[in-house]
Symmetry: C2
Subunit: 621 residues, 2 copies
């Protein structure tokens, strides 16, 4: 199993990130801390630009979304209501010998990475996994003793091998590579079946048990169970919990959204892929609250149907959850396109009914094809940047139940429309409602048909009684994006190498970070041709000061212009402005003009200082 080619690229990217100050390992001088990362000067600017782009597109360019900035530590009951205390867990096994923990779904990838499995695979027949007892014995007493000291085959080679032979005589062979390792870890089959070997030492793993991913702390003077608090594993819950406060204090009407950017924490067992899966990360989440379809139908006679693909256009009053969901998926793709991730770099994962939680109606994940993204069935689908979920009224209803505070809204239009609806229509809607809820009860909550129907009827009673009064708990569409993942995607997408051969045939490869000007950490570099000519310097500083209030400008007077261009290419600066003797009027008709050099193709053009700011603003905003 050779190092895959993509990892060479990731290594280059990680190394550039450190060298140029995009991303450092957290606490590096203390040996680092696994799963935590720091953003250096360029990374901090890049991240800021992404936050700003998201906030701008969500809050400022729209009428129907407002912001929130909530605390990371919230009341612990919130995580009970959201289900995180009970179910936000990974199944984990412990090795009974070396005590390491293994996430059940990562057992096989970890096994594949180990030297001992690789040496065994080389030794045995890889397709059929049949074994030669002599080879196995030799391995167990030599290489195996070093690499997997707690494997049954190593601890008791004769016993294990004779058992393997016995099993083989009964016609029991391992079916594939995975099963082969289970055989080698087992001395003899007891009541519990095969033993799963620890990837690290070959020892016996326990059955997987749920391991909660929330980081815990205590606040207040004493650390007791009563003042346990969690570092939020997502920013979304704060939005639900503050829904009423925001609704009551802002001039908003359903449909509307609340957006938030902030840190969240998950105690990932095996953080990996650079910043992609880390323990501390930043989210950009929107909860967009809409009327339930029944209210839309009462108001508009029907719920609009939308094509299953493509942007459904400007929001319409007769949209139900499907149109809104589709709309937000397409809006988010537009956002990515606008900051330099073309659709072709993205992938989509539409969650299948069996993947969806009982309250979820649909979820579409937007993926990015990272260098470490795995090929599946012949294509690279990518890894998740953002999930857009239609979550019904689950979240607000849960918090209503757990807090005892009503979180519904009153909608006079709905009340009036409902009153005018013919009874037959009301009855039909009720029946549809019950049918859908019964189906979910059977399929997802595993209720008996009778129990599911009974529960659905009760829910319908409560729902329609309220709706008749114009009251409902809004439903929600949730576009939830990861800021660190997006930052990494942009870095990977921007990374490119250019090899130039000079006159003497010497070739040099340099890195050009092709960030979209909207997100580039530095927008423009101002470069006086020479630093020892006061007139050039003075002019260059004047140009710099002209741009500074409007964008991040970098002033550089060190080294040759070529070297300075190369430095800016590595930083991803889209434009370099050079102040030369023509700027000072050496050629009179070029007085007060500058050279603008384009990062991506090296093209240069001459602009007047007077037009420069607007020229740049049009490109970097």
């Amino acid at each position: 199993m050779a190092e895959p080619k993509e990892n060479v690229l990731m290594e280059k990217i990680v190394s550039l990130c450190k060298r140029r100050g995009f991303i450092f390992q957290s606490s590096e001088i203390y040996g680092g801390i696994n799963g935590f990362w720091d953003y250096g000067p360029l990374g901090a600017e890049l991240k800021r630009n992404l936050r700003d782009a998201w906030w701008h597109s969500m809050m400022r360019e729209r009428e129907d979304v407002v912001g929130l900035d909530a605390s990371i530590i919230m009341h612990p009951m919130i995580w009970k209501a959201s289900g995180h205390v009970d179910t936000f867990a990974d199944p984990m096994s412990t090795c009974k010998h070396c005590k390491k923990l293994i996430r059940a779904d990562q057992w096989w990838p970890l096994m594949c990475e180990q030297q001992w499995t690789q040496s065994l695979a080389a030794l045995t027949e890889p397709v059929t996994n049949r074994f030669n007892t002599g080879d196995l014995l030799k391995w167990a007493k030599g290489r195996g003793k070093q690499l997997a000291p707690n494997l049954a085959l190593v601890r008791n080679p004769e016993v294990t091998i004779s058992w393997l032979v016995q099993e083989a005589e009964k016609g029991k062979h391992p079916a594939d590579a995975r099963e082969f390792y289970l055989y080698l870890a087992t001395e003899q089959l007891g009541a519990t079946g095969f033993i799963t070997p620890c990837p690290h030492c070959g020892g016996e793993l326990t059955e997987p048990r749920p391991f909660n991913l929330m980081l815990q702390t205590h606040y207040g003077p004493v650390a007791t169970d009563e003042n346990i608090a969690y570092l939020r594993p997502e920013t979304a819950q704060a939005i639900f919990v503050q829904f009423k406060n925001v609704f009551d204090s802002s001039r908003v009407k359903v449909p509307f959204g609340i957006g938030q950017i902030g840190k969240a924490f998950r105690n990932e067992i095996t953080p990996r892929n650079f910043t992609f899966r880390s323990r501390e990360f930043e989210q950009m989440e929107l909860e967009f609250f809409i009327r339930p379809d029944e209210a839309v139908e009462a108001l508009h006679g029907s719920v609009a149907t939308v094509p299953s693909q493509g942007h459904p256009g400007e929001p319409q009053p007769n949209w139900g959850w499907q149109a809104w969901h589709q709309y937000w998926v397409e809006e988010r793709v537009r956002f990515y396109e606008n900051i330099g991730l073309p659709r072709a770099t993205l992938g989509f994962h539409i969650q299948q009914p069996n993947e969806l939680a009982h309250y979820a109606r649909a979820t579409v994940d937007i993926l990015y094809k990272f260098p470490f993204s795995k090929e599946e069935d012949g294509e690279v689908k990518g890894d998740e940047l953002e999930g857009i979920a239609a979550r019904g009224d689950f979240d607000l209803s849960q918090h209503e139940k757990f807090s005892g505070k009503p979180l519904g809204v009153f909608d006079e239009e709905v009340r009036a429309a409902w009153a005018k609806l013919p009874d037959a229509r009301k009855q039909a809607m009720r029946e549809e409602f019950i049918e859908a809820k019964t189906r979910t009860g059977i399929d997802k909550k595993k209720l008996t048909p009778a129990d599911a129907a009974e529960a659905a009827r009760k829910e319908a009673d409560a729902f329609f009684e309220k709706l008749a009064k114009g009251q409902f708990v809004p439903h929600v569409i949730e576009p939830s994006a990861g800021l660190d993942r997006l930052t990494l995607a942009l870095i990977c997408n921007a990374y490119s190498e250019v090899t130039k051969t000079d006159d003497k045939g010497k070739s040099e490869t340099t890195v050009v970070m092709k960030f979209h000007p909207r997100v580039a950490p530095i927008k423009v570099a101002v470069l006086p041709l020479l630093k020892n000519k006061p007139d050039l310097v003075k002019k260059a500083q004047a140009v710099r000061d002209l741009m500074r209030p409007w964008m991040n400008v970098f002033y550089d007077d060190g080294g040759s212009i070529g070297r300075r261009y190369a430095r800016q290419d590595e930083a991803g600066t889209p434009f370099c402005v050079t102040i030369d003797f023509d700027t000072l009027g050496e050629k009179p008709d070029l007085l007060d003009t500058v050279t603008v050099r384009h990062r991506d193709d090296g093209r240069q053009e001459r602009l007047t200082i007077g037009e420069l700011l607007n020229w740049l603003l049009a490109r970097v905003r």
Copy 2:
């Protein structure tokens, strides 16, 4: 002790903050969580504007500061090196009866707030604190039993009172109100002296013990002592820890700074004064690294002296730490002035030698006069917004020591200058160095003069040996500001009430939030005169869309213009733009003009739509 007047104002501010969506209690629907706060739509915008203003003034308007965005959870050894594990603690007492915890320095303020102390003060002679045994007995058996059930006087009134009388006969009277309460809590004086009463129940408090203020968590699969982590109590340490990475990856030279904005956590025992003292908060910290004075002297012959007051002007190469410290104090005051906090609203606290830590050379706190700020010696000094500390090389040196990684820099200019320095000069500098360090050793570290001199000589050897090679650990000036405190200061400063009386003599008081346009959450409101005239609406939306890419615009078509103005006054929007029939050309010479109404004085002026954007930009940026 009546409710002080200022608290009435604070109550109004807290109430406005909730009503208009500036600040909500975190997790309010679950009863809240003490010491945590959420920012609603207007608060989130205000805070964003402040972050941007700080970042802009630090990173973009200067050449010599770069940014960092580090993780909240870092390697635990960092907090050992910084001293936080050992000394970041408040002295705390526990009540042996009710188990409540009291911060030692808050015992007296808490006592003053209690009903039982107030009723006792009313009962006894307030100045001399002499007592009447009859009154005390009656109180102990009645009111006292309810309010302070664990006070010695209440539990054993006869015994305590007879002891008090005995003491009085010996001529021992309480000296003041504080001592009076110690007497009442003590049955008879044992070896331990007086008993300190719990403010809540009158019970006995333990001796104060240090209580660490860092919030703890565990990362990784098992919660053991080895994977304890702390939520950072300040953002500064990340800057020191990443100093070398930033230095090596950015084109910076000492003097330069690294700035960071981010969350920090302190387990405050008694969070108070709204968001002023909370458990989760955001900091804006700059670490500005400078050459040690000895290097400056070697380079420039002497270290510049600066006037002890006022702005020392543009940075000069011959500045030592005092000039830089003075400079940053004045730069930060300028920053506050620029966002609408005039110098008169600020206070200053210059830490006295006995307040300074052994490594600190000077610290100036910038205070704001909050409505809850206490009067001391006849004047309100205010409460801390920001501290500007000259910390020498303490932080980098500590991390050098604990990490084993060199954190110094090499400075060719210093090496060259040192080589040319006459020996007598070197010797004189060395003697001064030793003298200063010896003084600190005696005064601050409490060493004997001989030990202090010995330690100072050793330090001098190491320091000057390195300096001769052009190597040194930079010294640091640290302006450290609290974002939540600043947000609260701006809200308090903006709050004003206007009372208008109409023709019928009916008066109404409304709130005007007079934010500086630079920080106001909404910069401009666009108001069509009527919402049912499509031409007006269309024109108003066009004006809105013109402003939107550049600033936060609010569009409002609901209610009378007067009511809409009032709503914007409460939100602190500096400008309202009204689109009326003249805009559409009813008076031809007013075609495409709008009315701009100023928040603070209600003044109105007519501008063309063409000039509006630049007019606004000039005011809001």
